[in-house]
């Protein structure tokens, strides 16, 4: 069932390429139709997710990888692929994946709409790349086998490289290669980590496994575990992106065609955040302990640094690209704060930023399409000639500066109020980002739409600028309604997400405690870690974990351990 979703996109991508040479219009409709159909298939999962039997208050001790873990998923599909190495075609859908899949499909449609008139050369190949990249993204959001995850991670990358390199703007080759090197190099690090985890599993259990459920919590507190964790971390924060690994993004976003920018900002960045939530922390629960302050610091630096840089840009798309980095800083902060409030906030921020950034890139693209420049210094006074574009830009600028009532506010506020429970200094610095966001958002409005018409450029005829047409208004309307809905009534989304997060949190806190105890025990006895029981062989700990249950986990030396626990 789930693989059919991906397959459908792959097939229609190929079909679009095939028909595109003769009939470009047809392949546009193929893309629209296939994405629309997928949307129709996935939307019915939403009410199901809302009525999910596993709500936050009915946690079972088996949590994530217990015997009946399949119950936790809205849809689950497992096909053996390479059984010798424990690789299977394992796809599953829960609330988090579902919302991100829906976001992907909606933004896919928006990207198709934005490219409708913009892309006129090699149309079929364009839509082929677009759909294949989206297929990769869907796979990333659903894969629960690490090998398969990596496979999809690469699939979404290559078509995007073509999108930037072929249909991009003046400096597209540089941008495409930079994008490719950054993501490729970092994902190789992740591949190494994935393989190491599989080998580790083989050492402990005798068989290879890339299965998510087998590997959960297997990254331990040792230096070795730290390096493995770092491999994942770098891959994910390059995608996110976080300071200082963000530098591919301004170039890629600026040079990509509008449709590509929409997919990049709206969807691709979220795969990094999703990877952190779904894979990194559950695989390495202990890393929260020692690594969270650093990761949060990276997030906070990113928030402010990118906000300041956004302010100084004169290229409209580059400005928006930096705002994306700033917003993703909030996601990183929220993920590593790792409590329900902050996680819900991070997820909301992913969804709302997907819409608002995509809309801003679409606006930037349509302005460029009309006046053939992205230079803010050459703009000015557009409001009187294109009031619709002005009004809509104002709306999304307000969304990106976190105006309450729009979705982005819910995300940022939840992240900040959640991380305030964990780390006050970081949160205080991050909150300064709210002021910085006001500074950079208003500069867009000021330079492009307010002020007198720019008379330096005589080629610019303001009176003949075309305002948004129906197709553009429809795409914008969807995103506007979405952001208002998420701002005023986010509860259905939060309810969809809450079972996911409560289980992840419960699992992580349990195994982090066991890991900590384990490690403390190790440091007491000065033995090598190999002589200790691996985590999987520990008796299952009752939940909630209390002092008494620690005695059960570590019967003989428990007392000594508890005394030493920080």
């Amino acid at each position: 069932m789930l693989s059919a979703l991906i397959l459908l996109l792959l097939i229609s991508g190929a079909l679009a390429w095939y028909t595109g040479q003769k009939n470009p219009q047809l392949c546009r409709w193929i893309a629209t139709g296939s994405l629309g159909m997928l949307l129709l298939i996935t939307l019915p999962f939403l009410p199901e997710a809302l009525s999910s039997p596993i709500q936050s208050n009915t946690l079972n001790p088996g949590i994530l990888n217990g015997p009946d873990h399949r119950m936790n998923w809205l849809a689950f599909q497992q096909i053996d692929w390479i059984p010798r190495f424990g690789i299977s075609f394992l796809l599953a859908l829960d609330g988090l994946s579902l919302l991100l899949v829906i976001l992907t499909l909606v933004l896919g449609l928006v990207a198709v709409a934005a490219s409708w008139n913009e892309i006129t050369e090699r149309v079929g190949f364009f839509y082929f790349n677009l759909l294949w990249s989206l297929a990769g993204v869907l796979g990333v959001f659903m894969a629960l086998d690490l090998f398969l995850f990596f496979f999809f991670w690469e699939i979404m990358l290559v078509p995007m490289y073509f999108l930037i390199g072929i249909w991009g703007h003046e400096n597209r080759r540089y941008a495409a290669i930079k994008f490719f090197i950054f993501t490729q190099a970092s994902s190789l690090l992740m591949l190494i980590s994935i393989l190491a985890l599989a080998f580790q599993h083989q050492q402990q259990m005798g068989v290879y496994s890339f299965n998510y459920f087998d590997l959960l919590g297997s990254g331990d507190h040792s230096l070795y575990g730290f390096w493995l964790m770092l491999g994942f971390f770098i891959a994910f924060v390059v995608k996110l992106p976080a300071f200082p690994l963000h530098t591919w993004l301004p170039d890629a976003h600026t040079q990509a065609p509008t449709g590509g920018s929409i997919i990049l900002a709206g969807v691709l960045l979220k795969t990094g955040a999703y990877g952190l939530i779904r894979f990194l922390i559950p695989l390495f629960p202990g890393s929260l302990d020692y690594f969270a302050p650093y990761a949060m610091a990276i997030g906070v630096i990113g928030i402010l640094y990118a906000a300041i840089l956004a302010f100084t840009q004169t290229d409209l798309k580059r400005l928006i690209a930096y705002t994306s980095i700033s917003h993703m800083g909030f996601v990183l902060l929220g993920v590593y704060a790792w409590n329900t409030l902050a996680l819900q906030g991070a997820a909301m921020q992913m969804l709302t930023h997907g819409l608002s950034a995509a809309a801003l890139f679409m606006i930037a693209g349509s302005i460029q399409h009309r006046i053939h420049t992205r230079d803010l210094d050459k703009m000015g006074g557009f409001w009187s000639s294109v009031p619709k574009i002005g009004c809509i830009t104002l709306f999304f600028a307000m969304a990106s500066l976190g105006m309450p009532g729009l979705g982005n506010f819910v995300g940022e506020f939840l992240v900040l109020i959640g991380s305030f429970q964990v780390n006050i200094p970081m949160t205080l610095i991050a909150t300064l980002g709210l002021v910085a966001a006001a500074v950079y958002s208003l500069i867009i409005i000021q330079k492009a739409f307010h002020g007198p018409p720019n008379t330096d450029d005589i080629t610019l005829d303001l009176n003949n600028l075309k305002d948004f047409d129906r197709r553009e208004m429809a795409a914008m309307g969807v995103m506007i309604v979405g952001l208002i809905w998420m701002g005023l009534y986010p509860q259905p989304l939060l309810d969809t997400l809450s079972p996911v997060f409560s289980q992840l949190e419960a699992f992580v806190s349990l195994s982090a405690t066991v890991d900590k105890a384990h490690w403390a025990l190790h440091s007491i006895s000065q033995q090598s870690p190999n002589e200790l029981l691996p985590l999987e062989q520990l008796p299952p700990a009752p939940f909630p974990l209390q002092e008494a249950s620690l005695h059960q986990v570590l019967p003989d030396r428990g007392q000594a351990v508890i005394g030493r626990l920080p």
């Binding site: 300071f243 409590n339 409001w383 307000m398 009532g405 305030f420 208003l442 007198p452 009534y489 986010p490």
Partner: protein, 613 residues
């Protein structure tokens, strides 16, 4: 009737949405019908709610939950409207004054081509302001709080073609945003410590959990105060308000005089339990208020733009409200908020009529002798100024008197500041009257080219406001159950001083600015006085200070980061690899001799290793 409470903010919101969606395609009459009518209806509903509220048993409150906004582990803000004495008073002021100003604006803005956009923003503002005052939790209040900031930004920059207006609008938004950010941190703190953002619950919890003078109470109060200071243009975040006068005059009347800028006062009164737990911070409120009212009073003396004078006077009057809250004259502070809304709206609208008659001249030195030319406006202006100067029997007198009396009891030094401020108020407001309405005619007013029924609307609005300003002091507000009681009575001597000093101010204004201008010239020619005048004109140099302390360093930092030094890091890997590439490519000379000798050398090295092993 109370069931209709939700319509009070919803009606202006609907109207705003209609006006936004129609994108100026409606005729001006239709726009006015929606824009003004929705607010009028909302005012009517508020009044009828007030009537049912007054019939309800005393001390009862009414709350209406529309929907659950967010519900995540303990954070459960709902979209709930909360009506008690305080929010009722605020809602009445906002809708009624809002309606009168809308009515006036439907005439004032008649010639403008962006009529529809104007009313869309104004209605959106009213909706946000009503959400702010009716919110039952701090998050919803924050939504209204940011919403009014947005509308203030949009309306200050309404005439966007002039970059200076955009500059002023952004300045207002960003400076208030600084305060808002502090307030957001206050919200985080309150939620972390008290576990709720519901105002009443949080206040009860605070009184239960935090002892008097506890550090948490002080911090929370301080952070909320920072938000209030930003929105209400008090020290040190006051510098945006004079520039905000770039907006159309009805905007200045509604947003930057009567309603939005008093939101800070409302916030402090709403959370007064918190401030009572933090006496130091409460005293700080009073000190901020006193300093602000003095600074702004001196600045108002030297301004030459009629709207900037009124802007500084607004800052100064809000200073009185802060003083009132700080010394514990809670109800008096709110009462002053109400009467100030009446007379300041009147003053701004009258000033608007003057500006309209003089074809958008705003410099008072280009005006003069208008009392015969515009007698009706002169009457309004005179009454407004009398209220502003708190002359006996005007509404301003009834509200300012208890503030000064309470200040006398609590902190005589602050009372002295307030008294000096009262003197300054009389001086600058009557300076305005004497310069603009007396003396020689400098610019001849032009008759307005508008349909009569539209002029009529403006006159009705002005007349109603005049009546409110005169008799508004007789209202009694239903605040006993909400705010702590204070019944201040100063000794008779102090009372007399409070009354006499403003009269002296008027006499001095008459003397200096009307009867004996030479005396003023003498004063001006004294050494140093020009410097002081420029300093005050500039608003005590705060703009320059912030430029040097914050804006320029930020710009410099931004400029130096402009090229993203992190990019240099990734480029350095490129440089390193191309350096090694260069080194290796040196070996590829294309000369057979060189290749052969390298091969031999390599073989020798390998053999050497083999032998040594």
């Amino acid at each position: 009737m109370l069931k209709l409470l939700w319509l009070i903010p919803a009606l202006p919101l609907f109207s705003s949405i209609i006006l936004i969606l129609t994108q100026g395609k409606l005729s001006k009459n239709r726009v006015a019908f929606f824009g003004v009518g929705s607010v009028g209806l909302s005012a009517l509903i508020t009044i009828s709610c007030a009537i049912s509220f007054s019939l309800a048993p005393e001390g009862s409150v009414y709350s209406q939950t529309l929907w659950q906004w967010i519900d995540v582990v303990g954070l459960q803000p709902a979209v709930t409207l909360y009506l008690d004495g305080l929010s009722l008073v605020m809602a009445l002021v906002v809708t009624c004054i809002g309606f009168l100003i809308h009515l006036y604006a439907s005439g004032y803005m008649y010639p403008d081509k962006d009529y529809s956009r104007f009313f869309a923003c104004m209605n959106l503002f009213l909706a946000s302001m009503l959400i702010l005052v009716l919110a039952d939790n701090l998050l919803l209040l924050y939504m209204g709080w940011e919403g009014v900031g947005l509308c203030s930004y949009l309306l200050i920059g309404f005439w966007y073609q002039d970059p200076a207006n955009g500059q002023a609008a952004r300045k207002a938004f960003i400076i208030t945003r600084v305060g808002d950010t502090a307030m957001a941190i206050g919200l985080f703190l309150i939620f972390r410590e008290l576990g709720t953002l519901n105002i009443q619950e949080a206040m009860n919890e605070a009184s239960r959990q935090w002892p008097l003078g506890s550090i948490y109470a002080s911090l929370a109060a301080l952070l909320l105060l920072a938000g209030a200071v930003g929105k209400s243009a008090q020290l040190p975040l006051q510098s945006w308000l004079p520039d905000a006068m770039a907006g159309p005059t009805p905007v200045s009347a509604l947003i930057h005089a009567a309603t939005m800028v008093t939101a800070g006062v409302y916030l402090i009164a709403r959370t007064h339990e918190l401030f009572l737990l933090a006496p130091d911070i409460q005293m700080l409120v009073a000190i901020v208020g006193t300093l602000t009212l003095l600074l702004a009073g001196f600045s108002a003396l030297t301004q030459t733009d009629i709207k900037r004078i009124l802007a500084y006077s607004t800052i100064s009057q809000i200073g009185y409200m802060f003083l009132a809250l700080g010394v514990g004259a809670w109800s008096a502070g709110i009462f002053h908020l109400v009467t100030h809304a009446f007379f300041k709206a009147l003053l701004f609208l009258s000033a608007g009529s003057v500006i309209l008659a003089l074809h958008h001249k705003q410099d008072i030195h280009e005006m003069g002798g208008l009392y015969k030319r515009l007698p009706f406006i002169f009457c309004g202006f005179l009454i407004g100024s009398a209220c502003l100067a708190a002359l006996p029997f005007t509404s301003g007198f009834f509200s300012k008197e208890p503030i000064l009396a309470q200040a006398w009891h609590q902190a005589p030094l602050l009372w002295l500041g307030g008294l000096v401020g009262a003197f300054l108020t009389a001086l600058y407001s009557f300076r305005l009257i004497f310069i603009v309405f007396f003396g020689p005619v400098r610019t001849e007013p032009q008759p307005l080219h508008m349909p009569d029924r539209i002029k009529m609307r403006m006159s009705v609005s002005l007349l109603t406001l005049t009546a409110l300003a005169l008799f508004g002091g007789l209202f009694s507000l239903p605040l006993e159950r909400v705010l702590p009681e204070s019944d201040p009575h100063a000794p008779a001597g102090i009372e007399t001083l409070n009354i006499l000093l403003p009269l002296f101010g008027i006499y001095l204004a008459y003397h200096l600015f009307h009867r004996d201008p030479d005396r003023l010239q003498q004063l001006k020619s004294r050494p140093g006085s020009e410097k002081i005048r420029l300093f005050w004109l500039d608003g005590w140099g705060f703009d320059g200070l912030y430029d040097r302390l914050l804006r320029f360093p930020f710009l410099r930092l931004a400029h130096s980061l402009r090229n993203d030094f992190a990019d240099a890091l990734s480029h350095s890997t490129e440089k390193v690899s191309s350096y090694f590439h260069g080194l290796l490519s040196e070996t590829q000379t294309g000369q057979v001799r060189w290749y052969a000798s390298i091969m031999v050398a390599g073989i020798l090295v390998l053999m050497g290793i083999g032998v040594l092993n």
